[in-house]
């Protein structure tokens, strides 16, 4: 794993390595040198990430390429939709105010576009966990007929014929022969670097900020009532749960992937980091506010065969307690993350 190193402190080491390896080419040296401020750091106290760019050496060039791909509408059939269309930085890379994803030709998807951050800690992706690796995740929206509706081979040929991309691939991967594999690896470098760990809550846990009485009470209530599933520090236990939205499931969720009755109507527990930035809520975007979400957990949970055992007895919260929990949830907003210039759309000035 590449740890944070001061660039200048490593220059002598770099030159020594160059000297020692001057008799043969040694591409490893380039990979080990952290490129500017593109390096992957596991935040203090966080679990070991599932993906740490092993087999996909993180470089500034790879990251910059991945960022351009993420924001490029060329990835869609009619060149109108990019990943960034439904994953907006100001909404923590969710789609603000859209219940379900809005794709190509004005078509609607079936699920709420989730926010994107801290993906390196996930071993499975999407609400149903159907995708098992960050590198192959983009293939799903790119090829989905109601999202970007493009053939991956066509994407590769568009990129190959572009004036800019061959050089960027050359800079990132030492080849200007573009493949889907390199395209996906570059995108994984960008997506994996989207790390949100600088919320007020994070500062508080590091002793760098103080909580108000309401925030403190909210935190305490959260730990008692919510943390089992929305487990800190990721604020998800990465499991699939039925949180009692329906008695009959219009969308089988995880059950569609495993084809097991026990998984029917379960969805991946979403992280609550940046939750105040990314309404609407739930897999189908049915709730517009955090108040509605909490009201659901207090009065709205519907029983069914796969209902999470954590929710079989209703959660009891007074209106004051609900307000404090929401105050606490707002401390999970990471303004540094949503304003981080490294993650900005390179196509807009």
């Amino acid at each position: 794993m590449i740890q944070k190193m001061k660039l200048y402190g490593w220059l002598p080491v770099f030159f020594s390595l160059l000297l020692f390896s001057s008799c043969e080419r040694d591409p490893v040296v380039k990979e080990e040198l952290p490129a500017d401020n593109i390096y992957f750091v596991v935040p203090q106290g966080w679990p070991t990430p599932h993906y740490d760019f092993t087999g996909n050496a993180l470089t500034k060039e790879g990251f910059v390429l991945g960022r351009r791909l993420f924001y490029d509408t060329k990835l869609s059939k009619d060149n109108t939709i990019s990943c960034g269309s439904c994953h907006q930085q100001f909404a923590a890379f969710a789609h603000l105010d859209h219940k379900v994803s809005h794709g190509i030709y004005g078509l609607l998807g079936i699920r709420n576009a989730p926010p994107i951050f801290n993906l390196n800690w996930h071993s499975e992706f999407m609400w149903d966990g159907g995708i098992n690796h960050i590198e192959v995740q983009p293939l799903a929206p790119i090829t989905n007929p109601v999202e970007m509706d493009e053939d991956m081979a066509v994407v590769v040929s568009k990129l190959q014929g572009d004036a800019t991309y061959p050089k960027m691939f050359k800079d990132a991967f030492d080849t200007d022969i573009i493949t889907s594999q390199l395209t996906f690896k570059a995108m994984a470098q960008f997506m994996g670097m989207l790390i949100s760990d600088k919320s007020k809550y994070d500062l508080y846990t590091r002793g760098e900020a103080t909580f108000t009485a309401s925030e403190l009470n909210g935190l305490s209530l959260f730990q008692q009532k919510c943390n089992t599933c929305h487990t800190a520090p990721l604020f998800t236990n990465l499991q699939y749960m039925n949180n009692g939205l329906d008695t009959v499931f219009a969308d089988a969720g995880r059950g569609k992937i495993t084809m097991m009755a026990a998984d029917s109507g379960t969805f991946k527990v979403p992280s609550l980091r940046n939750v105040a930035l990314s309404p609407p809520y739930m897999h189908d975007g049915r709730f517009n506010t955090l108040e509605q979400v909490l009201e659901h957990y207090v009065h709205g949970v519907k029983n069914s065969a796969t209902l999470s055992t954590e929710l079989t007895t209703p959660i009891v919260l007074s209106s004051g307690e609900k307000a404090d929990i929401i105050t606490f949830l707002k401390t999970l907003t990471d303004n540094t993350f949503i304003k981080d210039s490294r993650f900005k759309d390179p196509f807009t000035p």
Partner: protein, 256 residues
């Protein structure tokens, strides 16, 4: 402690550089003899029973008496091994091949770096091993652009048959599943029937292997197209077809 300044560093580096030259000392160790190797060609021929398989225009009759034509017959062969008469094994590296009916070049596999000797058997997997199903973006035969990869629920389509019956029923059999009860991976070793493949530095043996599509639809389970005509997810039906096609490969002969 010595303070590392740039000047110090540079002096040190120049000293080091002085001691290093690009000339290698003569190697005192006897060179390990390079193993003598040759090549083997695997020549796959798609058939239906005794007939050659012809896409689109050919019509075939299944064990359940369904008449149909085939528009697509693609499958992965991976992890190819050749077994020598001394029981040593040659395993092809990066052994992933997508064979596509109608694309003759894809049906001819050249194994290189095969140690010379007499080979008495072959083993390979029908499909793509579990590891490559969970290892992220792949390339070459495993490029998801090849149309043999499920994007919504990660995994390779191990084998694929598409076509239609004379009655107009569309047939679509996309067989996959790499884990747990849904695993359809089959490692097979079609018999050489006492023949041998003799590998030398100069002679390249051809092993002719037939892939019989008729086997997809019979033994152990006869497939009735009025009941089963579309399989596009892992599960019981996919396993049933994979159990059927596990014996579709036969070595027809070896040309040394």
């Amino acid at each position: 402690m010595i303070k590392l300044t740039y000047i110090n560093c540079l002096i040190f580096l120049f000293l080091v550089a002085g001691f290093i030259s690009c000339k290698k000392d003569p190697d005192p160790v006897e060179p390990v003899p390079v193993p003598v190797t040759g090549s083997v060609i695997l020549n796959f021929e798609n058939k239906f029973g005794d007939s050659a398989l012809v896409l689109n225009t050919g019509t075939y009759i299944t064990a359940s008496n369904d008449t149909f034509s085939v528009s697509k017959f693609d499958y992965y062969i991976s992890n190819i091994r050749l077994i020598k008469d001394d029981l040593s094994v040659y395993a092809e590296s990066e052994s992933y091949h997508l064979l596509k009916a109608g694309s003759p070049g894809s049906l001819l596999l050249t194994l290189t770096g095969v140690p010379v000797g007499t080979y008495t058997g072959i083993e390979f997997m029908i499909g793509v091993d579990s590891l490559r199903n969970v290892s992220g973006a792949q390339t070459g035969a495993l490029d998801p652009s090849n149309g043999m990869f499920w994007s919504w629920s990660t995994g390779y389509i191990m084998s694929k048959v598409e076509g239609s019956t004379v009655g107009g029923t569309e047939l679509e059999f996309h067989i996959g599943g790499f884990k747990g009860v849904n695993k359809v991976l089959k490692t097979v070793s079609p018999s050489f029937n006492a023949a041998t493949a003799i590998v030398s530095e100069t002679a390249v043996p051809h092993i002719n292997i037939s892939a019989d599509l008729a086997e997809w639809f019979k033994t152990p389970t006869n497939i009735d197209f009025t009941v089963t005509h579309s399989v596009s997810i892992p599960g019981a039906n996919a396993k049933m077809l994979a159990d059927n096609y596990a014996d579709m490969f036969s070595v027809m002969g070896i040309e040394n």
